[in-house]
């Protein structure tokens, strides 16, 4: 009688080493019970420093106005909206990993979903800063909320893509947070039950909401996760679709295209996975989690990167073709001159984008390079640079040459405080991430335990014997246990 579920030996183990349930707890909860190392402190204080610089940059922007940024009448959207779309895009991988891969029953997500979801939440927090502070009179930010007021009541415009964005981003943030936190409850309970000091017991006890591990609770928890995944899947697609509507519903050449929603979603997943790679390669090393975030996990994510990178590449070429084929002179001018012509003021940015997003990920067709950590780390940064440039290209090259040549803008480059704001969001992101790595279980402990017996290295080794077993008997065993 074996409760070992059979999984093909062709599949790589997802948990390396000779592990049992207790060992998994030790490996993942252990590091957060120790004092952090020197590297953690260095990283944390650099992040806090960046955050403070960002706070000062924003302070100047609030006190002196949006004039602190080098925007002008023609280029009214510059770095801020570029950074907004870039961060939102990064915030898509977490939900993709936890929700879509859950629906597709991909076991490898269990090793990376917790950190990826955390990354999602922090990235969306960073993204939200840009539209809020760009309002200028930020103390009136609540005007975007539809509430009965004494100004008429003057309501918000529900037909405006910018308002859709308000709803989409805030819903996305809330749902991601709930999904993440409901998954964290059982793991916080594990930390609580191991805690030695009274303070830890109190803090993690509060965080765990009194989780006991009751079978009925698990049953509901499973159902909850599945439905939240089912909700988050269309949600994650809708969020970047709506972000792309900010551009696509306008009549600016280069923006007014129907390809935007799928192209933005693919790009978001592309950049999100790249950021997950950057972070996890550091985390697995720093916290000795190589057994849980294996080369196999990294390879799986690289496959997603090459797939989505190619979709994005396809979209770039389609866009270019349609601009020519559509015979709209403005559209074709935006593409052939403002973008693809390297000798125009922003031509260089288009080719950086093309190189980083379309050419470089093709390296990952090679299995050897997909499984090389140094190459992956380097590539993950290249991809994120490329995706930043994609947004920059879309925004700036479409608007810097207005319909009227007299309105053509002079060369736009960001001011110190504009760059400072961007660096500040990096500070916010990494400050949150370092705190997460110190105080939270960075890998979903309970989920790893649930796949151990099908995908653990030591258990997989035993499957040779099972292959000799009678299939019918094995099936009957399974059925008998399940019911």
């Amino acid at each position: 009688m074996s409760l070992l579920k059979y999984e093909s030996q062709q599949r790589e183990p997802l948990v390396d080493g000779n592990k049992d349930y207790h060992q998994i707890t030790e490996d993942i909860i252990g590091p957060i019970e120790m004092k952090p190392g020197r590297l953690w402190y260095i990283g944390f204080f650099i992040s806090v420093g960046l955050l403070l610089f960002g706070v000062y940059s924003v302070y100047r922007e609030v006190v002196y106005g949006v004039g602190q940024w080098n925007l002008n009448k023609t280029i009214g959207w510059g770095w801020d909206i570029t950074n907004f779309v870039w961060w939102v895009g990064i915030g898509h991988a977490g939900t993709l990993i936890s929700a879509i891969l859950l629906l597709f029953r991909q076991g490898w997500r269990t090793g990376v979903n917790r950190a990826a979801e955390a990354m999602t939440i922090f990235a969306v927090m960073c993204a939200g800063q840009f539209p809020i502070w760009h309002m200028g009179r930020v103390w009136m930010a609540f005007f975007v909320l539809p509430y009965p007021n004494t100004r008429g009541p003057l309501w918000v415009n529900f037909s405006s893509p910018l308002l859709w964005d308000v709803f989409a981003i805030s819903t996305y943030f809330t749902v991601s947070l709930l999904f993440w936190y409901s998954g964290l409850l059982p793991d916080f309970a594990t930390v609580r039950d191991r805690a030695k000091t009274k303070f830890r017991k109190l803090m993690y006890g509060m965080a765990a909401f009194g989780w006991t591990g009751s079978t009925k609770h698990w049953q509901r928890h499973e159902s909850l996760s599945l439905v939240l995944a089912g909700l988050a899947t269309p949600l994650v697609l809708s969020v970047h679709t709506i972000v792309s509507f900010d551009f696509a519903t306008s009549v600016i050449p280069g923006w007014h295209t129907t390809i935007f929603p799928p192209y933005f979603v693919a790009g978001a997943i592309f950049s999100g996975f790249a950021m997950v790679q950057t972070l996890l390669i550091v985390v697995r090393k720093m916290m000795n989690l190589q057994d849980y975030i294996t080369i196999g996990h990294i390879e799986a994510m690289n496959k997603v990167i090459v797939l989505t990178g190619s979709i994005v590449g396809c979209a770039y070429l389609t866009e270019l073709f349609i601009a020519w084929y559509g015979q709209n002179p403005y559209e074709w001018y935006a593409f052939s001159q403002n973008r693809a012509n390297i000798f125009t003021p922003y031509g260089w940015s288009y080719w950086i984008m093309m190189f980083c997003n379309v050419v470089s990920p093709q390296l990952f067709w090679s299995r050897k390079l997909r499984r090389n950590i140094t190459v992956t780390f380097f590539m993950s940064i290249i991809v994120n640079i490329g995706m930043w440039y994609e947004r920059f290209v879309i925004i700036v090259t479409s608007i810097y040459r207005d319909f009227l040549p007299s309105s053509w803008s002079t060369y736009y480059s960001p001011s110190t405080w504009e760059i400072g704001f961007y660096l500040g969001t990096f500070g916010l992101f990494f400050t949150c991430f370092f705190l997460f790595a110190k105080y939270f279980p960075v890998i979903a402990v309970a989920e790893i335990k649930s796949i151990l017996k099908t995908s653990g290295e030591n258990y997989k080794a035993r499957m040779t014997d099972m292959e000799k077993e009678d299939a019918e008997k094995f099936y009957l065993d399974e059925v008998e246990h399940a019911h």
Partner: protein, 196 residues
């Protein structure tokens, strides 16, 4: 929910392979399993224990519908009755343009509602104190708690668990209030399910 002090015989199992037959045997012998606490979701354990299916997803659907109707009625009331805005001469009732917000609110209502329902049903909240039968139930042990009544011979139950393969067995007295669980309603009796 009847409160008061209750006695439980607690058996710990190291492996789910041993746990499954034990659950079956304990139920067949007519003992009442108060609950089994596991470090991760063990698939099929709810069926083995004879627990009812959860209907939390139905709640999620209802919350979702509530979100859809809230969004649609709210936006159409505002744009057709309360303050009709002329936006480029387009119809006031601009249904296609409201779909994104309607969708977002559907998801938001459903997700928030389900999580609150989940926490309510499982009695989860910060500062909730519950009786934990074994601290390693969240680590690597599968902990079965059997409820004793006045008539139960707890020595017999302990022997029974020993034979079933439990590694650590003890008797615990815990206050059975609303925070321990509400399984009296949830659990079907073995004889009802199997017909004997």
């Amino acid at each position: 929910m009847a409160g008061g002090i209750k006695k439980f015989v607690v058996g710990c199992f190291a492996d789910e392979k041993v746990l499954f037959p034990a659950v079956k045997n304990v139920r067949r012998a007519g003992y009442k399993i108060h609950d089994v606490y596991t470090p991760f979701p063990v698939h099929g354990l709810d069926h083995a224990m004879g627990l009812r299916e959860t209907s939390i997803h139905t709640a999620g659907f209802i919350y979702g519908i509530l979100g859809t109707t809230t969004a649609l009625t709210f936006m159409s009331w505002i744009f057709t009755k309360d303050w009709p805005l002329n936006i480029g001469g387009k119809p006031h009732f601009a249904l296609p343009a409201w779909i994104p917000i309607t969708f977002e609110l559907t998801v938001l209502f459903s997700a928030v509602g389900m999580v609150i329902t989940f926490c309510y049903l499982c009695n989860l909240a910060p500062f909730i104190k519950k009786h934990h039968f074994h601290p390693r139930a969240t680590d690597d042990l599968f902990v079965m708690a059997i409820e004793c009544t006045d008539k139960t011979d707890d020595a017999a139950v302990q022997n029974f668990l020993q034979e079933a393969g439990a590694t650590e067995i003890n008797v615990q007295i815990a206050e059975s209030g609303w925070w321990i669980g509400r399984y009296d309603k949830e659990q079907k009796l073995y004889r009802d399910e199997k017909g004997y």
